[in-house]
Amino acid sequence: MIQFARTPVALLVFSTLLVYAGCASSPKQETSEAESVTPVVTALVTDAQASRQNEEYDQAAVQLERALRIEPRNAGLWHELAQVYFEQGSFDQAIQFATKSNTLTKDSELRTKNWRLMAQAYTQLGDSDRANEAEKKSLKE
């Protein structure tokens, strides 16, 4: 199943990461960041998404941490980890990883996703003030 699914998912992941990476970091580095998206990172993200679907969150986190070691400034990877932690029920860490992702990107689509995830996580933590604040920020992006 995973094997069949891998190619199209990989393409999707690859293009998304490319977009994220292109927007990451300061303007000086823009071009080199886009080039630095390596196939191994794409493969690891694909594997991580499969792990997530199987609810193997530790496994997914291991794969994403490996990807991050290769591309630490890829905001998309930090976002993926935030999602894993959210699904795993580690809402504090989900918020932190989404925050980190936001510090690395100016891409409004990704930033919106991060703020939404934070809003959901704060809701889960029962912090409605911060949830609302994050929700508002997601609309402003």
């Binding site: 300061s26 000086k28 390596t38 530790d58 490996r66 630490p72 932190q96």
Partner: protein, 784 residues
Amino acid sequence: MASKKSRRRKNSGKKRSKSRSKRAKRGRFWIRRLALLAVVTLIGYAVYLDITVRKKFEGSRWAIPAHVYSRPLELYVGLKLTKPQLVQELKLLGYRNSKNASTPGSYTVTGKGVRIYVRSFDFWDGPSQAQLVDVGIKGNVVNGLSGIDRTPVGDLRLEPHLYGSISPGHHEDRSLVRLEDVPEPLINALLAIEDRNFFNHVGIDPRGLLRATLANISAGSVVQGGSTLTQQLVKNFYLSHERTLQRKLTEMMMAVLLEVHYDKDEILETYINEVYLGQSGNKAIHGFGLASFYYFGRPLNELKPAESALLVALVKGASYYNPFRSPDRAKQRRDLVLTKMAELGYLDDAVATAAKQAPLGVTRQGKWSKSDYPGYLDFVRLQLRRDYQEEDLRTEGLHIFTTLDPLIQRTLERSVSHRLATLEKSRKMKAGSLQAAALVVRTDNGEVVALVGDRRARFIGFNRALEAERQIGSLIKPAVYLAAIERGYSLASLVDDGPLVVEQQGAATWRPQNYDKKNHGSVRVLDALSYSYNIATIRLGLEVGVDKVANLLQRLGLSREIKPYPSLLLGAVNMTPVEMAQMYLGFASGGFRMPLRTTRSVLTQDMQPLARYPLSLEQAVSGEPISVLNFALQSVVRKGTAKGLNQRFPAELELAGKTGTTDRYRDSWFAGYAGNYLAVVWVGRDDNASTGLTGASGAMRIWSDVMAELPLQPVDLPIPEGVEFVEVDQYGLLARGCPGATLLPFVKGTIPQQKSPCAGGGTRASVSTPTKNWIEKLFDTSNK
């Protein structure tokens, strides 16, 4: 009468014979009783032995120290790695350089890169199969990764390097192997020389004993032992080493009992893991699995027949036949093993003859010495002690996967020892008087990749990186400035660096001095940090509040209690290099606190995942102030106290860092980072005497020796939207387009309002001077 008499006589004769037979009967009775008792005792003893035999065999058979591994080298296209570096890693892992890399654990250097037959390994996230891969390397970058049929390979990890174990002082160490992973020549060699009837006897082998005796008589010395493998196992496993008849009989009984309960394979496998095969420092090498690493640096299943034969040769006496110390003896015994193998048909004569020509092939001693990186291992232990009992770490055979990068670790060790020697020589100091501690950390995840706690890398003992609490001096200053920036100061704010007297309640009046003993008047915050002015820093810190600085240190991850005395502002507080790395990691990571990590995961003895230590983070400082601070720390390198680094590193790296020198040159510090690595170095003397070194002339030299060897990336922290770059002059006034103006980052809302005369503002005289008077009143300080 006579008849009577005779009868009596008869009778008495009868009586006599009767009593004789009675006595005999009684004797027989006693003999029988004794025999019965003996039998019962013997049965009892046998039962006791039987319980003993089974008890030890059923439970966990050995206390095995936890084994500690480095990070796996992860290969991918785009990785910065040179051919020599890759070869160094392969050598470390015991890969053989062979012409066509035809078996796992071998490699060959080609024109385009390196062809590697990568070994299989069970990683936390799944097994990785052995595979033949071409790694293309051009210059210092991996530019291709493909299988034999040229299919691209995406995901490739070399196995991690096993570099140490966690254990008490004197102990046995072993690395368990399963029988199916033991190469056949090794088993054959073992049978040939030690017990050729192993698969046929019942634990004891009279024929073998006889044969050994005859062989020994004809040789004139003891060349063969008569004990079966089972007896040897019993001897090692259950019994003391005294040589008495009783012990020998016990050994034979136990051997038979062992054979009754367990099959040959199980006994053989246990023997293979039990047998003593060498001594490395205070560590006893047991079992063929670990011995293979110890003597050849490679796993057992990769040994050639001659190498297997050498290990088997050691069974008879690992010390006497030690191949490092007594290579001739070892070779003689190995060749005898090969001869026996050929005799019994396990090897072709030609093969055996060829094998005898082979050198012993043992690697330079030091492989699996006490530990390759004891300083680093201390930190691993310290961190694991939070979650594990020391006892479990010593006995459960856990596999601990750490973040150590052996290539960087070796670079750090070399840099520390060379540079200290050079400094001592050039400054005519007594050789060996300086000490140092240092660590290198990944800025993106807090993984500690290298650590040195003593200038002698193999030294086991006081670990300065973890335990030396030394004054941190100016290394504290970034925290003072960050606290100020968080409270609305900008890099263009002016601070007074004029003479200062601090009256402290219950303490002597404090008259802090600058390093150059001069005062610099009104200076910008940026310059006060870049040039490390003490007095300006104290004024700024007092304005902000010492408690705010102390609080910031805790937010950055320092857990020790910090008293908010004014002297804190000049770093009059003792901390370890590890704590300094924790603090600077907060700056390097863009304001995120991440615990320093040495361990990624722990697996059980049979490689099942047990615990994972994930990356975790928490924003400690928001993005705006941290990006402004980073600019200031880059300015320390660009033009300040660390500008010496520019001779060695290109400006594009935009390195950031801070020097630290304490009173009378007792401590020389440097903490600094590139985009991907942070390193902290301390140099000083154990007796706390003067070194004559500043942060720049001591620690920073080591720092630059190490960092120059690493594949550095530029410091490239994102600029948040709430930060704006504005041109200002040296007095902190807006100076767009003015000659000599500098472009500085400002948190929005802290941008100066007044313009420099050159930018159309009023004259400088009309510009207000800094806020020095009220602050001095507030803190009961006065101008001298």
